[in-house]
């Protein structure tokens, strides 16, 4: 008994006051308030990441929620931190038995029964595990379904870049967009994550911000695909004072800073208008080069 108390004392000395969040989380769990229990436990563990019982309780909550893989991770972490945490080991055994891992469950139970041969719960679970092994009722563990993901870069979809956005002429588009009333700054980044044009408030931004934008968009694109939501086309980031609208084109990213108080819908119309006007200008220039022997109707069109 004195050994137990000294172990607890050691634990409490290591994490003063740490039992409080775990006790509250456990009580919330018992009351079925699992959302709040998860929140309290996660918050407490952020402050006391080496508190074994806290991880065991979080595992129990996650198991109850149905997140078995995460629960298993927490039980294993609890055991890593304290190999004698019987609570974590027993809950891990329960999880292993649910998954049909009777052999592994028995190994854990033997560890408990070695130190506490009369532990009733461990004895009962050991019986269950042996019965499972004997009757060969272990179900094969069904692996997570692997969805086939399109490879990044292969057949990738993104908005087609406007005709005005061409290599070497990006600055012209950036200037046009920056002239809009609701726009406070423009930044254009190429596929390699290099800053190719920046105007107004975004003139202060350096290559790091451009690389950050490219990295954020490409990673988000992969994540959105993984979730089955499709290819990233753009985004919006808002704060109290303003917003940044992001357009993801084939080969380019354009971030537009909207001024404080600018209406999103109106700003979007204005930006698209500026892009369209540049596109028309480019087409007009192209028509100048058409040869005179083309039919008049074609030229008119």
């Amino acid at each position: 008994m004195s050994r137990q108390i000294s172990a607890w004392q050691r634990e409490i000395r290591r994490n003063p006051g740490s039992a409080a969040f775990a006790r509250l989380a456990d009580r919330l769990r018992e009351e079925g308030r699992l959302d709040e229990a998860t929140w309290v436990c996660a918050r407490g563990l952020a402050a006391n990441p080496r508190y074994s019982t806290g991880h065991a309780i979080l595992g129990e909550i996650l198991h109850q929620v149905g997140l078995k893989a995460r629960a298993k991770e927490e039980f294993l972490l609890a055991l890593d931190l304290d190999v004698h945490n019987a609570r974590a080991r027993l809950r891990l055994v329960g999880l292993l038995l649910e998954e049909g891992e009777a052999q592994k469950a028995l190994e854990h139970l033997e560890s408990i029964l070695f130190w506490q041969p009369h532990h009733e719960e461990a004895q009962s679970l050991a019986k269950q595990a042996r019965a499972l092994l004997r009757s060969r009722q272990i179900e094969a563990v069904i692996g997570p379904q692997q969805e086939e993901l399109p490879q990044p870069g292969e057949g990738e979809e993104a908005l087609v870049a406007p005709p005005g956005l061409v290599a070497g002429r990006e600055g012209e588009l950036a200037r046009r967009v920056a002239e809009c009333e609701s726009v406070g700054g423009v930044m254009i980044v190429n596929r390699e994550g290099l800053l190719v044009a920046n105007e107004a408030a975004f003139q202060e931004l350096k290559d790091e911000a451009a690389a950050g934008l490219a990295s954020m968009c490409e990673t988000s694109n992969r994540y959105l695909l993984k979730l089955g939501l499709g290819y990233l086309e753009g985004g919006l980031i808002e704060e109290k004072a303003g917003a940044i609208r992001i357009f993801r084109y084939q080969g380019y990213l354009m971030a537009v800073l909207l001024k404080e108080g600018a209406k999103l819908g109106a700003a979007e119309v204005e930006i698209r208008g500026a892009i369209d006007r540049l596109d028309r200008r480019r087409k007009l220039r192209a028509s100048d080069t058409l040869s005179d022997d083309l039919p008049a109707e074609t030229k008119h069109a």
């Binding site: 409080a20 006790r23 407490g44 997140l67 304290d82 911000a209 939501l229 704060e239 800073l257 819908g265």
Partner: protein, 138 residues
């Protein structure tokens, strides 16, 4: 928390939402079966961190809302006291209403978090030196 999510999900075209910790642990979820909870929580938190991180690089101080859109969907992220509120919607979802409801939901969740934080403090002040670990047998 679930009630807040349910109200958010009532927005036309909203598929589901969840509250996650910064390391992707789902706290409260109300998602359709098609969206796997753990994947959505983990990836949602990652996207939330990336958005707030990049916004910081551009000089934004406090991001109220992030939105990523694809050809068919929209994913909203709001930073809350202890993590992120993540919502998945169809593209047809009205953007103005969704943004407003995201802000309302984030404010409500922050209130709940504040309430829980004070409960933890109360519990800490009540805690006894050896009050717990009855079931732990080293």
């Amino acid at each position: 928390m679930r009630e807040v999510l349910q109200r958010l999900n009532a927005v036309n075209g909203m598929k589901g939402s969840l509250v996650v910790t910064p390391d992707g642990l789902p706290i409260a979820t109300d998602l359709p079966a098609a969206l796997e909870i753990e994947a959505t929580a983990g990836l949602g938190a990652c996207m939330g961190k990336m958005i707030t991180g990049w916004a910081g690089q551009t000089g934004m101080k406090e991001v109220a809302l992030g939105m990523l859109e694809t050809g068919k969907s929209r994913l909203f992220v709001s930073a809350i006291t202890w993590g992120f509120l993540v919502a998945v919607a169809e593209k047809r979802c009205p953007l103005g209403e969704a943004r407003l409801e995201m802000r309302n939901a984030a404010a409500r969740l922050n209130e709940i978090c504040a309430g829980l934080a004070s409960s933890v403090q109360e519990e800490e002040s009540r805690s006894e030196p050896f009050g717990r670990h009855d079931d732990e047998k080293p």
